[in-house]
Structure formats: C-alpha cells, structure tokens
Symmetry: C2
Subunit: 229 residues, 2 copies
DNA sequence: AACGGGTTTATGTTCAGTCATAACCCGCGC
DNA sequence: GCGCGGGTTATGACTGAACATAAACCCGTT
C-alpha cells in the first residue's frame, strides 16, 4: 500500500463520505495520522492542506483539523478567451470592431472603479461571432492613464481582450454575472428578440490597485456558462 | 530579507508583471532559483506549485516551468447555502416548502443525469425569502435510489439543500448558469413581471458516479452573482 | 467569578537529502 | 535520413528533522 499524499487525500475523503468523520468533527492530529499511514508528517500535512484548498477541511493552529461544517463548495472555473471558447466547440471564430472612441470616463464608470474626474478612457464596442452567428457583444472601457499604449491600438484585427491579456499579465479581477432584458440595440447585435433574457458578465481588471479595464459582455440567447467541482 | 515561499511567490509575480518573464517564457530551474533566493529547493517548489494552482505558471517535468501564455484566469468562488448568502447581507432568511411529491423521474431528467427508466424521485419546490422578499425559487429532484432516506423527510422546516449538504458530504457537482425569461408561474413566485430576465443556476450532484440530486434555482430580479480572482 | 499571563500543543514552514518519473536529446544502427 | 533506446535533467514526491507561531488551556491572582 503506497501512501502518497493523494492516497491519503482519497482516504480522508472516503472516511468523510462514510460518515466516520462527520461534518464538524475533529480529525486526528498530523502526527497520529502519519503514524497510522506509515508516512512522514509532511505528507499528511500536504494532503490536509490540499483538502483545505478544496474546501473540505478547516484547520486552526493548536485547535486542530475539522471537517467543514457546511460544504461551501469551492467551484473553480476558468474564464477562457472568447475565441478559445468558440474554437473549442469546433466553430469558426470571427471578431469585429463596431465602435471606437476616446472620451472622458463616464460617471457610472468613475464611480464603479474609482477613477479621477479627468480620466480618459478608450471606449470600444466589439462583436464576437461563432460560425457567423452572433456570440457575444462586448462593451469595453480601457483606462488610458493605466494603459497609455492602448491609445495607439486600432483593435480592428485583434480583440481588446486578447490584446490586454498579452499586455497586462496576471492582474486581479472581479467578476459578476446577471440576467438582463435585451435592449432594442442589444437585440439587433445579438439577433435576439427585444426583451429576450440575456446573460451578462461584467468584469473589472486591476493592476496594483489601479483600474486597467472594465468590460460588459452580453451573450447570445440561450448561452450557458458551465463549471464543475 | 526573509525568503518564505510567499515572498518567493510575490517576487515571481513581480517579475512577471515587470515583463522580465513575459508570457510563454521559461523560468530558471528550481535549483538555480533556490540558490538565488538562498533557500531550499523545496521552498521554491512550493511557491511554484502554488502559482500553478493560481493559474499563473505551467510546469512539465523535464520541460521546465513557464509563464502561462494565456492567462486563463482560474476564477474560484464558493457557492454558499442560500441561507448563508442571505444572512451575510444582514437580511432575515425564511424558507418555505411549496410542493412535495414522489414520482417517477421525468424524461428530461432521466436523460440529463442518466437514470434508469423506473427511478423514483422526490420532487420539491421551495421558496427562499430575504426579509420576506422573494429571493430564490428552487425546483429540486432527489434521486430516491441513491438517497432513500429523503423519502421520510418532510422538508417543511429544513431546505433540501441544507439537508443534503449534511447527509451527502463533499460530492461532485456540475453547475451551469443561464438567463431565461420568466414564465408567468415564475414571476408569481419571484414577484417579477412576466418576461423579466431571470438568472438561473442548474446543478447536478453526484456521489461515486451515481446521481444524487438535480436542482434548478431561479433568482429574484436583479440578482448578481459575484466572484473574484 | 473574572482576569491575565505562562505553558502546552497542533499546525505552519523550512531544510537537506533521496528516490521517482517524464521528456528532451543525442547517438547508434539500419 | 530515420527510428529507436538510453542518458541526462528538470520537476514531483517523500522523509525526518527542526524551529516558528498562534491559540487553547491551565493556573494563580485579584
């Protein structure tokens, strides 16, 4: 019986599922477990740390390790580039720039992401197609104070998303999802009926506490976002 | 200069942001980094493993470690119990069972989650209120082959979600989100106008490849699901 | 009984070293 | 020139040990 940390993880999960260690119960200490598995404490430690990461266990120094009372399941999902999401289905991706202008940041955006009153933004509207069917309408504002290079980018061939991912690697973002009724304008772009329910994602991206960009993504009718855990 | 694994993580991220290690570039090997940081290889290893976990790096044995070319940002967010989500806002939570019946699994569900033709399910409809305002309408089907105990639960005081989390800890699930137009029935429950856009989450839960339950959650008008990474 | 400080203890982190494993690479044989 | 196999090497996993740290707990004082 090889006891790698993965085996230990599996065994702990088994014990939890068999209700030997019900939610809220304390597990034996690392030393004790290491003895019973016949491995080093570090190995048990790694297994348990992983399980904390997965949202299964809770640990506190001295107090010990317990099974999380409520399984606040940690869903974890990747937000791919639109292009990748489309190409993954086998469809042909097409991008189109609809509008592009430089302007002072609108009030709602200044409030939302804490910009100065005189911040200039590049405002873009783009469409993403899958097999020439409307897939996503993207409204985007790029902070020109933070990313001055964007001023000289036409964004006619490359989508702002894709350009930004290359230029501004690994920033923080916050993300929200909602359902809204299509405005007449949106339904024109997305080929939806007026009032159709539209899945919307809104994302703000930050680098060192400075806002980089804000985007509103409107998906085609019937879009489903999927995740698993 | 203390070089804990967190300091190393931070330093690597800094270097990436400063474009010293652009996307796709290979990082120095663990041994080399350990020397330059003046720490053990295991410490560098842990920092790098963490960064893989965060979706920043890609590692392959022998090949080496590289900055992920596209930041397929791993959003990771917790799906809390409705009750907790509501109570976190300071509102008072109220639960109500609307309907409860045992029946053969409907065809669409059998197809969706691979059930036998004669599988019995417990079909439930519940409402969740925040400060007496409709918050979420829940349609749920519990597989009685997998969870026979559910047959004897009235679900009048405790929501099926909460009960299941206690009974069936740490199962796998897949999850999808969509926007739909409210049916007249849904708008009655949710206090929405007919045709209002409704945010819907659909979740299937599995234990050892057997389906446990399937749920459709319809949120109140204007609901926003939030995540960050 | 309430409070405060010291002790104990379980986890957190790091270390140096070993073995395992995957994959690139180079050279041999054809 | 091509394919195959072994050598090299970078990461992956594990060990046993040590020290750090936070917090629970005990105990003595007020």
């Amino acid at each position: 019986m090889r006891t790698g940390y993965q085996d230990i993880k599996a065994d702990i999960l088994d014990k939890i599922r068999q209700n030997l260690w019900p939610p809220g119960a304390y597990l034996p200490g690392e030393i004790e477990l290491a003895q019973s598995y016949g491995c080093a404490r570090a190995t048990v430690n790694r297994a348990m740390r992983d399980l904390v990461d997965d949202g299964v266990l809770e640990r506190k120094r001295k107090a010990g390790t317990r099974v999380k009372a409520v399984a606040s399941q940690n869903a974890r999902f990747a937000i791919p580039l639109v292009r990748e999401e489309i190409e993954a289905t086998g469809a042909t991706y097409r991008y189109a720039l609809v509008e592009r202008q430089t302007r002072a940041a609108p009030g709602w955006l200044r409030a939302r992401v804490q910009l100065d009153a005189d911040t200039q933004v590049l405002e873009l509207r783009c469409m993403h197609f899958a097999d020439n069917q409307p897939f996503q309408l993207e409204d985007r504002w790029i902070n020109l104070d933070t990313i001055p290079d964007a001023r000289h980018q036409s964004f006619e061939a490359i989508s702002p998303n894709e350009w930004l991912v290359r230029e501004v690697p690994f920033s923080k973002a916050d993300l929200s999802f909602a359902a809204i009724n299509a405005t007449p304008e949106m339904s024109d772009f997305l080929g939806a009926a007026p009032q159709d329910a539209v899945f919307m994602a809104e994302r703000s991206t930050w680098m060192d506490h400075r806002n980089v960009t804000h985007a509103r993504l409107y998906f085609h009718r019937g879009y489903r976002m999927m995740a698993q855990f």
